[in-house]
Symmetry: C2
Subunit: 220 residues, 2 copies
DNA sequence: AAAATCCTTTGACAAAAGTCAAAAAGCGAA
DNA sequence: TTCGCTTTTTGACTTTTGTCAAAGGATTTT
């Protein structure tokens, strides 16, 4: 397999040009690997044929295995990832404790928003919790797309609007709900998190101690 | 003064076309009223002459007096405002209590993000806390600008990116800081809030009871 | 299988924050 | 200034959540 990665990390398991995958999957009946990234982006706006072709050349498919760190605290987030399959979290350190700021599932963007947007060093670390496959685009290439194809600004705007609203809801949850209420909300709206993440990670995500979460779960 | 408002509310004190203000202020030495809105937007990206002219025709200047509600819970937020001067908050109701979700100062955008973006009914109310002057643009006109001038997508994207990052910090503050720490952070980073808002509003903004904030302020 | 490690639960207690009620302070109108 | 209203403070008490320590479980390694 040709190694055409532009990654700064060296723990990449495999890196593949999307166009390569396209050829491979062209004859497969299942929704092809390729179409997924466009499916993700087409939720927001249509992409012209030209832009689609350019995207195909720019996006890389990369795999990471459980335990790998896609981004480490203090480094600059130079890539925007879309999770094709797997399970990932972002966390930051506070008084020696790891505090999970988000979990990502299939089709979610994976990025340290602050670091990627500002291109300053990241306060958060991105950790792969289950073997994962990503679509990857570098900051530079993305900026190029923004300049060259205005429609990407539209997609970018709509995408961040969506995540802004989700974040707003999470903030409100912290603002007026008790730990138990926040837990129940996750139980209802994001049960995948409870199925896949450890108690400690979920607790920090909820902003409470492990012990408290354990007690909530076992009804006091 | 010509009444050319397109507002759905009927408590508007005055509505003025920006072009009208431009003429008025053309001879004034002080930074003109007009330039401000472009100053705000130019922080993010340059605006072409054409776009600038069109903006000038679309943006209205509106004044609201203390106590007025720019947007009420349950209604759709049809306007994006930029606060030229004054003081505003957004709040929502929870178990009969008003919970302040944000405060806005000079140059801040004022909008119920969820309602404006989705054009669904708002869960928050926007209240004018001090007589305020706004630059106003309707949802339809903004969408028109997004379509016609791709540079506005860039501005829109950068603007929401900025507020996403701010919201992220606020969320993290709820996640791992105590009430006292959150209060001190505001004391340091947003002292204007403490100077202008009532204790009750600040308390709900911090996600704590009035009594607790009073005790924090008076060192237990 | 035993050892080591990690994750989760439980208990006892401490600290943080909420609730309710009443008093005090501030503020505006008459 | 006084009255009436709202906001803020204070006290007493309760509830929620955190901390520390130890005990169980589960899983992996040797």
């Amino acid at each position: 397999m040709p190694n055409n990665t532009r990654s700064t990390t060296n723990n990449t398991k495999s890196t593949t040009k999307l166009s390569y995958i396209r050829e491979l999957s062209a004859s497969i009946t299942e929704p092809s690997t390729l179409d997924n990234i466009f499916d993700i982006l087409n939720q927001f706006a249509n992409i012209s044929k030209d832009a689609k072709n350019e995207l195909t050349d720019i996006i890389l498919v990369r795999e990471f295995t459980k335990g790998e760190l896609i981004l480490e605290q203090g480094k600059i987030c130079k890539y925007l990832y879309f999770l094709k399959s797997g399970f990932v979290r972002g966390f930051y350190n506070q008084d020696g404790k790891e505090i999970t700021s988000w979990f990502a599932f299939e089709n979610d963007p994976v990025v340290s928003m602050y670091s990627f947007i500002s291109q300053k060093s990241s306060f958060e670390t991105i950790e792969v919790l289950e073997d994962s496959i990503f679509y990857t685009i570098s900051y530079e290439n993305l900026q190029m797309l923004f300049k060259k194809y205005s429609e990407f600004n539209l997609i970018g705007r709509l995408l961040i609007e969506k995540y802004y609203i989700e974040l707003e809801e999470r903030t409100m949850s912290f603002q007026y709900q008790s730990a138990t209420e926040r837990y129940k909300k996750i139980l209802e709206c994001q049960p995948q998190i409870l199925q896949k993440a450890s108690l400690g990670m979920i607790a920090s995500y909820l902003g409470i101690s492990q012990e408290t979460l354990s007690r909530i779960r076992n009804k006091r």
